[in-house]
Symmetry: C2
């Protein structure tokens, strides 16, 4: 097994975030699942966009955000995801390449347009996401560059992309390719509603030993294990994946690797502006430590630092110099 | 003359800003006019976008930014400008309507696409703008709603839009309509390079008494009057327009009205993040005071408060509650 060219290759939704501040009452009035991610169709997208205040557009997508963090930390990364041949597709492709990430998935002609996520950010900084999947759901298995997947130390997959059929099939193929090449597979559960829809698939992947590093938050841990109690959830899952990482927002995060459990406190943040991307950037820091051979406690610390950076401003991709932030730490 | 329904109606470029931080050396390497606005064609737009880091998209356009400020202050506003029937056009239209501004100019089918401005923000907060005019340059005089122009207390025009031929003709018609209706005409000179191209037109408009309120910065004052010295520039222009407003960045601003000259200091700003929109928001504050019958010194103060808000964050439209910021002031 040769030394891989890439640290991390990810498959994920290719999404442009459309973000605006919103009043708490608007979340209820518009019938949104506060703090969660809901898939929406064209009509609902139009209705919600019309109800949204003046917005800004910033490239997003969970796994793509994680790669942006990894690249900012100095890792070599590649992304696979489907945009349409339109202006938002150009924006997404530009931003990910400008971050130094290899991105070669050809844009898809015709309808539907590039995916977008309408994000309503309430005064407490919490984000409520409404995703119009558009072209992103049509990522074909044929778009996978198998040689590139085999040439990355870690294949990183986002659970969000398990919803649509074509990308799900592509991700299954990618897992097989990575495992054949002796690479690691990392998976983020993304959202408890996604687990409600696909929990059986995720549990089967874990049982088959297909996942080496699993990322979850507290709600996702509960949804996957059926245990409301955090410690019971950890106990149910910790021996079933080589590395388990569970984030707990302001309560920090926990990792269990090789039977040993370590914790980290959340980094202090002067003001939480927008929590969009907190989990994505936590994964970035953790994976960066992992591919650089750091121990799990150090990986957690790097995750906490990166998550703290991204929630201090609007948008789910890092703005500060992450390399400088982690210099000399932990 | 009936009481108008709108405080301000503006005609301007309908532009989406594409903004990214940039190193000082990149400005030189890419041959950009630091701190200025340069019109670019498709090839140059592609080259500069490729050279740009990860960006964010926020609706812009000088006069549209001014209206966003006015609307945030509580004024009734309308906008006339040309977008294309594409995704960035939808973004622009959404954002201006979501700000509470009437906008009824139909989107233009086919090429060129909606205008965008590639803005490189250096570490000192200064912005260097590269504008691809796209659909914006095809605003036809037929798009003017003459009844609406006659129904606004002030018609506000941006000098930037004097470059392309069709909007220039439309703006000349709009001035005539406003004057026939007994309304005021406000004009911002926008940029010293624009004055280099169209200074004769601007001087003729002033000589004809077509402009009631003129906005300029120091460089524009010098370009229009041919006087390098600030005080000589003021002296040359002050008796030729009823209200002259000259902004001087960190040195504050000056207004001359009815022969009386007043000044204001710049508002303190903790950190200048991005100066994009500083002049636009100064104009918003000043015009708000003007349409509310405040005296020129108070108008200047309102301008300084609004400008200080917009330079403290990325993007050229206000994010804070401007009404709260000016409450009880000056």
């Amino acid at each position: 097994m040769s030394r891989p060219s890439f640290d991390v290759i990810a498959i994920g939704n290719a999404i442009v975030d459309v973000m605006a501040p919103a009043a708490d009452e608007a979340i209820e009035r518009l019938g949104m699942a506060r703090g969660g991610m809901t898939l929406i169709d064209t009509d609902r997208a139009r209705l919600l966009y019309d109800a949204m205040g003046p917005a800004r557009e910033i490239s997003g997508g969970s796994a793509a955000n994680t790669l942006a963090g990894l690249a900012a930390l100095g890792a070599q990364c590649a992304f696979i995801g489907q945009v349409a041949d339109d202006q938002l597709g150009e924006v997404f492709a530009h931003d990910i390449r400008a971050a130094g990430i290899a991105f070669a998935t050809p844009a898809r002609a015709g309808d539907p347009p590039t995916a977008r996520c309408l994000i309503f950010v309430t005064p407490d900084g919490q984000r409520t996401m409404n995703t119009y999947l558009g072209a992103s759901q049509f990522l074909p298995a044929a778009a996978l560059d198998r040689a590139m997947i085999a040439d990355a130390a870690v294949l990183y997959l986002e659970g969000y992309l398990w919803d649509p059929e074509e990308p799900r099939a592509a991700m299954r193929q990618a897992i097989a390719t990575a495992r054949e090449a002796g690479r690691k597979v990392a998976f983020t559960l993304s959202d408890s509603f996604v687990i409600a829809r696909h929990g059986d698939d995720f549990r089967a992947l874990i049982a088959a030993g297909a996942i080496d590093i699993l990322f979850a938050n507290e709600q996702e841990l509960a949804a996957l294990t059926g245990r409301e109690d955090f410690h019971a959830g950890i106990a149910a899952l910790k021996d079933r994946v080589p590395v388990l990482v569970v984030t707990r927002s302001e309560k920090g995060a926990v990792a269990v690797a090789g039977g040993r459990q370590v914790e980290v406190a959340a980094e202090p943040v002067a003001q939480v502006v927008d929590t969009t991307g907190a989990g994505d950037l936590f994964a970035a820091g953790f994976l960066f430590g992992h591919v650089r051979g750091r121990d799990p406690a150090e990986c957690l610390k790097l995750g906490a630092i990166c998550a703290a950076e991204v929630i201090a401003h609007y948008g789910a991709r890092p703005e500060a110099d992450l390399r400088a932030l982690i210099a000399g730490r932990p």
